[in-house]
Amino acid sequence: MDEATRRQLSLWMSALAEGDRTAFDPMFDALWPFFRALARKWIGDPQEADDAAQQALLKVFERASEFEAGCEALPWLVAVVANECRTLRQRKKRRREEALDVDTGTTPESDFEAVLEVLGHLSTQDQIALRAAWFGEAAPGAPVTLRKRLQRATSRFRALWSSHHDPS
C-alpha cells in the first residue's frame, strides 16, 4: 500500500471518528478488497478468509468512533484483520478438538485408542475424573469437587492431545 493511500485511510478514519458520514462509502470501498486480500493471504481458504474479512470490516466500523483523530490508521486496521483471522483459526482448532469428544460416540476405533493412549499419560486422579465423565465409571467425591477436577483434567488432556497429535 502506497503512502498516499495510507494517508487517505487515516483521514477517512479520522472523519468517521468525528461523525462525518461522507467518509463511509470511500472507506468501505477501499477496505473490503484490502481486508479480503490480507485474510486470504493469512488463512488460505477463500471462503473462511472472506468470513474473517467480513467480521473485521464490521468491527472496524463498529469501533470507528473510538479512533483517535490524527493517528495512523493502517496498523490498527491490519491488527483488526489479524485478530479476526487468529480468532477464526482458534475456533477451527477448538472445533477439531471437540470432534474428539467420545461422548458423541462417533469417534472411530483408531481415534478411540489414541484417546486411551493420551489418557494413560495423565495422573490417576485425572484419569478417574475423565473416565467417570466419558465412560460413566464410578468416581469418589462430592459433585462440585468432581466437576472442578473434570475441568482441570479436560484442559490437561487437551494440552497433552495437542502436543501428541497437533504440534502446530
Binding site: L16, E18, G19, D20, R21, F24, F28, W32, Q47, D50, D51, Q54, L57, L58, F61, E62, R63, A64, S65, E66
Partner: protein, 178 residues
C-alpha cells in the same frame, strides 16, 4: 460467503456505535436533571427542559462534528449558571436583597461560563459552530437555574455569557489544521 448486505450491516454497526458514544458523552447532561429533581422549588417546565437538554446532547454527539465536541465543555460550563443562582437564592433570599443578589449571581455565572466556552472555541477549527452550539447549551443549562428566579436574571446571564464568550472566541489564534 460474502453477505449481500455487508455495506448496510457496516453502516448499521457504525450508527449504533455512534449512538452508544452519544449516550456516554451526554451523561453529564443528566446532572442538571438531578439538580432540578432535588430542588424544592422545581417546576414541570424545568424538568422538561432538563430532559430535553439530555436528548439534544445525545443528538448532537451522534451527529458529530464541531457541535459534538462542544457538548462536554458546554455542559461543564453550564453547571456554573445552573448551581450558583440556586445557591444564592437559597442562601440570601430569606433576608431581603433577593433581586440584586440573584441578578449578580446570574451575571457572574454567565460571564464565567462565557470565559470558559470562549477560550475553548478559540482553539477549535470550526469555532463558529462550536461557539454557537456551546452557547446554546450553556444558556439552556443555566436557564434551568436562572429561570426559576425570573426573566431579568435569565436575560442577565445570557447577556453576560455572550459579552464574554464572543470576544474571546473571535480574538483567538487561527487554527490551521483542517
Amino acid at each position: 460467503m460474502i453477505h449481500p448486505d455487508l455495506r448496510q450491516q457496516a453502516r448499521t454497526a457504525y450508527e449504533h456505535s455512534r449512538l452508544r458514544l452519544a449516550g456516554l458523552h451526554a451523561l453529564p447532561a443528566l446532572f442538571p436533571l438531578l439538580v432540578i429533581w432535588l430542588s424544592p422549588h422545581r417546576t414541570t417546565a424545568q424538568l422538561f427542559g432538563a430532559v430535553a437538554l439530555f436528548a439534544v446532547a445525545v443528538g448532537l454527539v451522534w451527529r458529530g462534528g464541531a457541535a459534538a465536541r462542544a457538548v462536554r465543555p458546554a455542559l461543564s460550563a453550564g453547571l456554573l449558571p445552573l448551581l450558583l443562582p440556586l445557591i444564592v437564592f437559597q442562601s440570601f433570599c430569606g433576608s431581603g436583597n433577593c433581586t440584586t443578589n440573584c441578578i449578580a449571581a446570574c451575571t457572574l455565572a454567565g460571564a464565567g461560563a462565557g470565559a470558559w466556552i470562549g477560550l475553548q472555541s478559540a482553539h477549535q477549527r470550526q469555532r463558529l459552530e462550536f461557539g454557537i452550539t456551546g452557547g446554546i447549551l450553556v444558556v439552556w443549562t443555566g436557564a434551568l437555574g436562572c429561570s426559576a428566579l425570573g426573566a431579568v436574571e435569565l436575560f442577565a446571564m445570557a447577556l453576560a455569557f455572550a459579552a464574554v464568550a464572543a470576544p474571546l472566541a473571535i480574538a483567538g489564534p487561527a487554527v490551521r489544521r483542517t
